[in-house]
């Protein structure tokens, strides 16, 4: 099933690139969605099965199902977006092909049980993502694409340097198998110096995908300049792949004597990320960049949970899962609002309530969910993370982070309520499009699910998260 899925997805991607027929395009995209759905179903039923270098463990299954939902919605929303952009056929083909290959490569990267295989598929995601960013072919998208490629290539090189350091550590320990399970079983043999060097380089490299402190800049421009359906995948699937890389490497170093040192690296990066997010979100001029900075804040919280250990790990994965639903909802709606106003600048838009009641509802409910107001699932995970920090004795850090979060909540609220209620002086509302409420239906469903996760989280999902958390919290 693994090989069927990956080969067929790449074939579909190739076919989309050269296809000229509209009906065939719909058919190909539909078959990709079905293929991905059946793959998700397959890994749910055969959790833990492996094929060569790919193993669908619990963490991978969670992310694969999330990616299936988000990518199907993204393909659905892309149709309206591309119709509005009215580019020629060839550029549409590039867009869809890149999206299909990105999704397939992300699925592979989640499943990879060998650190080098993860690295290779992350490389493929960079190529596919850069095509998505470059879709509009303007000077600004070119700038964003160039920055994204450059920062991502350097960070991929960093990951590779980290893998080489790990190789040196293994050479001294007499090991040759680089799969995660073997590394975790033999972690006590690894030399601490080279393991530390490996961890710091691999961590720095994966922060470009995960949107964390040292390399976060690439992701901001990418989420801003890519079409919003693609931005939704960047803010969920692509961030999850960065987390996957960090999480699995952390699972190795946690078993060595350097565990406390690794925790302090995570804490440092997380605190700086939240700080930077709160600084930039105050002066941001554009809604999509605002959402991108909010993603940095949430990833920082996830890293805090991971560094705290214990229940914090569970909370981190729960947080990531819920965040992967709420952030795409906001990205889709921002795309619709961008289409209505012809602008995504905060200064030039407002009074969205007159144009679309359903869309405004998405923004308002989404705002409450993304800032972790109680019915939202994020409230539970943030509460658990803060409880772990309190129990761990990080009171000062907790106070600082709570203050920074207050700033973020205020800044997000100011901008979102302005978009919904305050009409700017020189906008002629009669001439603007009124988007159909059906377009907002998917976002409302996602938000409903996020609230459901906050109130009655289903037991099977929690079981999966517990099993995924056991990768780094057992023993």
């Amino acid at each position: 099933m693994y090989s069927i899925f990956f080969i067929t997805s790449f074939l579909i991607g190739g076919a989309l690139l050269f296809n000229r027929n509209n009906i065939l395009k719909v058919f190909l995209l539909l078959s990709f969605v079905i293929l991905q759905g059946s793959f998700a179903l397959f890994v749910i039923r055969n959790t833990g099965s492996s094929y060569g270098y790919l193993t669908a463990d619990h963490l991978a299954v969670i992310f694969i199902v999330v990616l299936f939902i988000i990518s199907s919605l993204s393909i659905y929303h892309s149709a309206a977006y591309l119709k509005w952009q009215q580019k020629n056929e060839r550029e549409h083909n590039f867009y869809y092909a890149a999206m299909v290959i990105l999704v397939a490569a992300l699925n592979c990267a989640y499943c990879a049980n060998h650190i080098a295989i993860t690295w290779m598929f992350v490389e493929i995601t960079t190529i596919a993502a850069s095509f998505l960013i470059y879709y509009r072919r303007t000077e600004l998208t070119l700038e964003a694409t160039w920055k994204y490629i450059f920062v991502c290539t350097i960070s991929i090189t960093f990951v590779f340097i980290g893998i080489l350091f790990l190789g040196i550590a293994m050479k001294h320990a007499g090991l040759t198998d680089m799969s995660y399970t073997s590394l975790m079983a033999n972690a006590y043999l690894l030399n601490p110096f080279w393991t530390k060097m490996a961890f710091i380089f691999i961590f720095t490299g994966f922060t470009a995908k995960a949107a964390l402190f040292p390399m976060y800049t690439a992701g901001i421009d990418a989420k801003d300049k890519a079409p919003s359906p693609a931005g939704a995948i960047f803010a969920s699937g692509l961030m999850n792949v960065g987390f996957c890389g960090i999480y699995r490497t952390y699972g190795i170093i946690r078993l060595t004597d350097s565990a406390a040192w690794a925790n302090s690296v995570l804490l440092f990066s997380a605190t700086i990320s939240i700080f930077l997010a709160s600084v930039y979100i105050m002066k941001v001029a554009n809604y999509k960049r605002m959402l991108a900075y909010s993603s940095i804040e949430h990833m920082g919280l996830v890293m805090l949970g991971l560094a705290m250990g214990g229940a914090g790990v569970f909370a981190a994965i729960f947080h990531l899962l819920v965040h992967s639903f709420i952030k795409p909802a906001l990205f889709y709606q921002t795309g619709i609002a961008y289409r209505v106003f012809g602008s995504k600048m905060i200064e030039e838009t407002g009074g969205y309530f007159r144009q679309s009641v359903a869309g405004s509802l998405v923004f308002i409910l989404g705002y409450f969910c993304v800032t972790a107001v109680p019915p939202s699932g994020l409230f539970i995970s943030e509460f658990m993370i803060f409880r772990e920090m309190y129990l761990g004795g990080y009171l000062w850090l907790m106070a600082i982070i709570m203050m920074l979060l207050t700033v973020i909540i205020w800044a997000l609220g100011r901008n979102i309520f302005r978009l919904v209620f305050t009409a700017p002086p020189n906008v002629k509302f009669e001439s603007l499009e009124r988007p159909s409420p059906f377009e907002s239906l998917s976002q409302l469903a996602l938000i409903l699910f996020v609230m459901f996760m906050g109130v009655f989280p289903p037991e099977p999902i929690l079981d999966y998260i517990r099993a995924a958390a056991a990768i780094v919290s057992s023993r």
Binding site: E123, I149, T153, L164, G167, M178, D224, Y280, N286
Partner: protein, 209 residues
């Protein structure tokens, strides 16, 4: 023998940090390709012959001939001025470079392993540092790309340290080389194409906050 090659590689880094003209950068990059060829030839003794031939081909053909030639072509075609325009005086760069190499040497003693591995470690880390430094202190995109090529050479040296035990690593390094070259090449070829024809929609500000 390998140590001698690695030390001369270290010397080329000092050259590249003081170089003024872009052509000098290209010449040093080509020289580094040759040195990498020699280092790989002498250190990868226990490797499969076909694989070794492939690696040697990559260092000589891609690193020494193809990439410098292609970058030189871009320089000519886009009428890029010939100076590197460093933002920091050369003297300060040199002082920083020397102190960083000394620091890396001290760091390598913390590992407590043989000098043979340490030299690979020192030279590759110094190379990566030089590449990052070039990226940070030069103004042009093309110099950023050259800085990245220097980083890649550093990675290649490091992969030689485990090359005999894990030949897969060296091949992955080559994969990275090819991947990055194709991506950057694609961008530069695309940039000249259809971009500047259509005007931007809403904002003409550059990307920043």
């Amino acid at each position: 023998m390998v140590n001698l090659i690695l030390l001369s590689f270290l010397a080329t880094l000092f050259f590249i940090i003081t170089a003024w003209r872009l052509v000098t950068y290209l010449q040093i990059l080509a020289l580094q390709g040759v040195l990498l060829f020699a280092a790989a030839f002498f250190s990868l003794s226990s490797m499969h012959t076909a694989n070794l031939a492939f690696i040697l081909l990559e260092t000589v053909v891609v690193k020494t001939v193809a990439i410098p030639f292609f970058v030189g072509y871009i320089l000519k075609r886009n009428n890029i001025t010939r100076e590197a325009e460093p933002l920091v005086p050369v003297f300060i760069s040199l002082v920083l470079m020397v102190s960083s190499v000394i620091l890396i040497f001290f760091l390598s003693y913390a590992s407590g392993f043989s000098i043979f591995d340490n030299l690979f470690f020192v030279v590759s880390l110094a190379t990566v540092f030089t590449g990052l430094y070039i990226i940070m202190t030069r103004r042009k995109i093309i110099t950023h790309m050259m800085g990245y090529l220097v980083i890649e050479n550093g990675v290649f040296i490091l992969s030689l340290a485990v090359g005999n035990e894990m030949p897969m690593m060296v091949n992955m390094g080559i994969l990275l080389d090819v991947f990055a070259s194709v991506l950057t090449l694609g961008i530069f070829l695309n940039k000249i194409g259809d971009v500047f024809k259509d005007g931007d929609v809403t904002q003409l500000r550059r990307l920043k906050d």
